[in-house]
C-alpha cells in the first residue's frame, strides 16, 4: 500500500535500549543469586573472590534437614494439589463448556473468584476456618485445601479454553460410528486436548510450589514449605545457603516452564503476539 517504509511508533534506538534495560532489571536478581550460590566462602561473596568456586552450599542445602524436609514437603504438596485441582477442574470445566444449565455462571464464578480475593484474606479465612470448624492443626490437609483454592481458577481457565477450542464434530463422528460417550471422549477428544490438561496441572504445580503468601499462614510444626523456609531463613540470617536454596527452587520452577512450552506453547496459551 505505502511505498516508503513507515517508521515504527517506537524509534529503534529507544526500543532496543529500553528493552535491554528491562531485561537486565528482570534478570539481575537471578544472576546475582546464581553467582553467589557458587561461592566457596562462608560469607556472601562471588566465586571469583576469596575462596573460589564451590558447590558446598548446594551440599549444605541437601544436608540440611529443615530445607530438605521442606523441599520434599513442597514437592509432595504441589503434586497432590495439582492432582486434586485437575480432577475438580476437569469435571467442572466439562460441565461449564458442554452444558447449558441454570447454575452454570454461578459455578464458573465461584471457581474463578479466588482470583479477586487477596491471598492474605484467603489464608486468614482458611486458618480460622480449618482450626475452629474442622479442628485441623498444621499439616498437609489445610495446606492442601488452601493451595487447591488458589490454583483452581487457573486450572478452570486453561481446561475450559482447551475444551472450547476442540472441534466436537470429531466426537460426534465417533458416536455415529458406535462409540459410547466415555469411549469417544477417551479415544478421540482427550488425546487431542491433553496438552491443555497438562498445562493446567503444571500451572497448579508451580503456583503451589512457589506460593509464599498463603503458605506462611498455613505452615506449622507438622508441615512447612520450601519458599516459607527460605523466607524465614533469609529474614533472620543471610549466608550463601539462601541463594543456593533459592536456585534449587528456581531450577524446579523453570523445569516446569519448559514442560509447558514444549507441550502447549506458552504463546498460544497466553494468546499473545505470534500468529502460529
Amino acid at each position: 500500500m505505502s511505498e516508503r517504509r513507515r517508521p515504527g511508533l517506537i524509534p529503534r534506538g529507544f526500543g532496543v535500549v529500553w528493552t535491554a534495560a528491562i531485561v537486565v532489571f528482570i534478570l539481575a536478581p537471578f544472576v546475582v543469586m546464581l553467582l553467589m550460590s557458587f561461592t566457596g566462602s562462608p560469607f556472601l561473596s562471588y566465586p571469583w573472590q576469596e575462596d573460589g568456586f564451590s558447590l558446598r552450599w548446594y551440599a549444605e542445602f541437601f544436608d540440611s534437614p529443615t530445607f530438605l524436609d521442606a523441599f520434599v514437603d513442597s514437592l509432595l504438596l504441589a503434586v497432590v494439589t495439582s492432582v486434586v485441582t485437575l480432577a475438580i477442574a476437569s469435571l467442572a470445566a466439562l460441565a461449564i463448556v458442554r452444558y447449558a444449565f441454570r447454575l452454570r455462571s454461578t459455578l464458573n464464578l465461584v471457581l474463578v473468584s479466588p482470583l479477586f480475593v487477596p491471598h492474605v484474606m484467603i489464608a486468614l479465612a482458611l486458618l480460622v476456618y480449618t482450626s475452629s470448624v474442622w479442628d485441623w492443626g498444621s499439616g498437609l490437609k489445610r495446606m492442601l485445601v488452601a493451595h487447591v483454592v488458589i490454583t483452581l481458577p487457573f486450572a478452570i481457565a486453561t481446561i475450559s479454553a482447551a475444551l472450547t477450542g476442540f472441534d466436537r464434530n470429531q466426537e460426534y463422528a465417533a458416536y455415529d460410528l458406535g462409540a459410547g460417550r466415555v469411549r469417544a471422549f477417551a479415544s478421540v477428544t482427550f488425546p487431542q486436548i491433553k496438552a491443555g490438561f497438562f498445562a493446567a496441572a503444571v500451572m497448579a504445580f508451580v503456583v503451589s510450589f512457589d506460593n509464599v503468601a498463603v503458605s506462611l499462614f498455613m505452615v506449622g510444626p507438622r508441615y512447612s514449605s520450601l519458599p516459607v523456609e527460605i523466607y524465614s531463613f533469609a529474614i533472620e540470617e543471610i549466608s550463601p545457603l539462601a541463594p543456593a536454596a533459592a536456585m534449587v527452587m528456581t531450577f524446579f520452577s523453570l523445569a516446569a516452564i519448559i514442560a509447558i512450552e514444549r507441550s502447549f506453547g506458552v504463546q498460544r496459551l497466553l494468546g499473545t503476539g505470534a500468529h502460529r
Binding site: 459455578l107 479466588p114 482458611l126 527460605i230
Partner: protein, 305 residues
C-alpha cells in the same frame, strides 16, 4: 454490563451449547460434574471468607461471648500508626502500578515492531520470572541492594557516599515492580492486539508525530488492557506482605504484615480479620472508582468525534 478490562485469564464462561437435554439423566449430568467443584469451593472458600468477615466484626465480651462491633475496622484509621500503615500500603500499591505501567507500555509497543523470533525471546525472558517464587526474587534483590552488595559497591566507586538501599519503602516498590511486572505486561500485550495499523497510518498521514499518535490513537484503544493491568497490579501490590517484610524490614509495615502479625504473633484473629476486610474493601473501592473514572474519560473522548 459495561465493557470491562481485557482480563488476563478468561473469567467469563465460554459459550454454552444451544439445546438443553430433555432426559432426567441428561439434565442431572452437569450438576453431577460440577458438584465436586461447587461443594469444595462453597465449603473451603465461600464459607470461610464470610465467616472471616463476620469475625472481623466481633469483639470478645466480658463473659466469653462476643458482641458486634466496628472496633477492629476503626483500628485501621483510629491512630497514627494505623493510618501510617494504611497510607504506606496504598502508596506502595500506587507506585508499583505506575512503575509497572511506565516500564511495560513502551516495551509492549516495541515488541509489536520486532521480528517474531525476537518477540518470542523478549516475552519469554520477561514472563518466565512469573513462574518463580517471589521469595526467590526478593532474595535476589536483597543480595543486590544490601550494604555490601554489588549496587552499593558500584555506587561508592562512583563517588556517591554511604547509601542504604534496603529497608526502605523504595526498595519495596522496586521489588514489587519486579514481581508484578509480568502481570502488567501480559495485560498490555493482549490490549495491543486491539490496535489497528490503518488508524496509525491515517494519523501519521495527517501529519501527527509519534508521540501524538500514541497519545491520541494508540493509548485510548489499549485503555481497557491498561486498566486491567493496573487493577491487577494494584490489588496484588496492596495485599503483599512478604515482599514488604523482606525488603522493608520491620520498620516498614504494611497492612498485609499487620494482618499476619495480629493473626500469627498476637493470635488476635478477630483483629486480623477486621483489618483484612478493611484492606479488601479499600482496595476494591479504589479500583472501582479509578477504573470507572478512566472509562468515563475514554468514552467521553469517543463521543467528541
Amino acid at each position: 454490563m459495561t465493557t470491562t478490562a481485557t482480563p488476563v485469564l478468561p473469567v467469563a464462561p465460554p459459550e454454552p451449547p444451544a439445546r438443553r437435554s430433555r432426559s432426567l439423566a441428561g439434565r442431572l449430568e452437569p450438576y453431577l460434574l460440577g458438584l465436586p467443584g461447587l461443594v469444595f469451593m462453597a465449603v473451603f472458600f465461600v464459607v470461610p471468607v464470610i465467616r472471616m468477615v463476620h469475625l472481623g466484626l466481633t469483639v470478645p465480651g466480658d463473659d466469653g461471648t462476643t458482641t458486634f462491633s466496628f472496633d477492629h475496622w476503626r483500628s485501621v484509621f483510629a491512630d497514627d500508626y494505623g493510618r501510617a500503615v494504611l497510607w504506606r500500603t496504598l502508596r506502595i500499591g500506587f507506585w508499583t502500578t505506575v512503575g509497572c505501567l511506565v516500564l511495560a507500555y513502551p516495551l509492549a509497543l516495541w515488541v509489536r515492531q520486532i521480528s517474531a523470533a525476537w518477540r518470542s525471546f523478549v516475552i519469554l525472558v520477561v514472563l518466565s520470572p512469573l513462574l518463580t517464587s517471589s521469595v526467590v526474587r526478593m532474595l535476589g534483590w536483597v543480595l543486590l541492594l544490601y550494604d555490601d552488595g554489588i549496587v552499593n559497591r558500584a555506587l561508592s566507586r562512583l563517588g556517591v557516599g554511604e547509601v542504604h538501599l534496603l529497608y526502605r519503602e523504595s526498595a519495596i516498590v522496586v521489588g514489587a515492580i519486579h514481581v508484578f511486572f509480568g502481570f502488567m505486561f501480559l495485560a498490555l500485550l493482549s490490549a495491543m492486539s486491539r490496535i489497528k495499523e490503518s488508524e496509525i497510518e491515517a494519523a501519521m498521514d495527517l501529519g501527527a508525530g509519534r508521540l501524538r499518535v500514541i497519545r491520541e490513537v494508540v493509548f485510548p484503544v489499549t485503555l481497557p488492557g491498561v486498566i486491567g493491568g493496573c487493577v491487577i497490579v494494584f490489588a496484588l501490590a496492596c495485599s503483599e506482605y512478604a515482599i514488604a517484610n523482606m525488603l522493608g524490614g520491620s520498620s516498614q509495615p504494611v497492612m498485609g504484615s499487620e494482618i499476619y502479625k495480629q493473626a500469627l504473633v498476637y493470635l488476635q484473629w478477630d483483629r486480623a480479620a477486621g483489618i483484612a476486610t478493611v484492606l479488601f474493601v479499600i482496595v476494591t473501592a479504589v479500583i472501582v472508582v479509578f477504573s470507572g473514572l478512566l472509562r468515563r474519560r475514554a468514552l467521553r473522548g469517543l463521543g467528541d468525534e
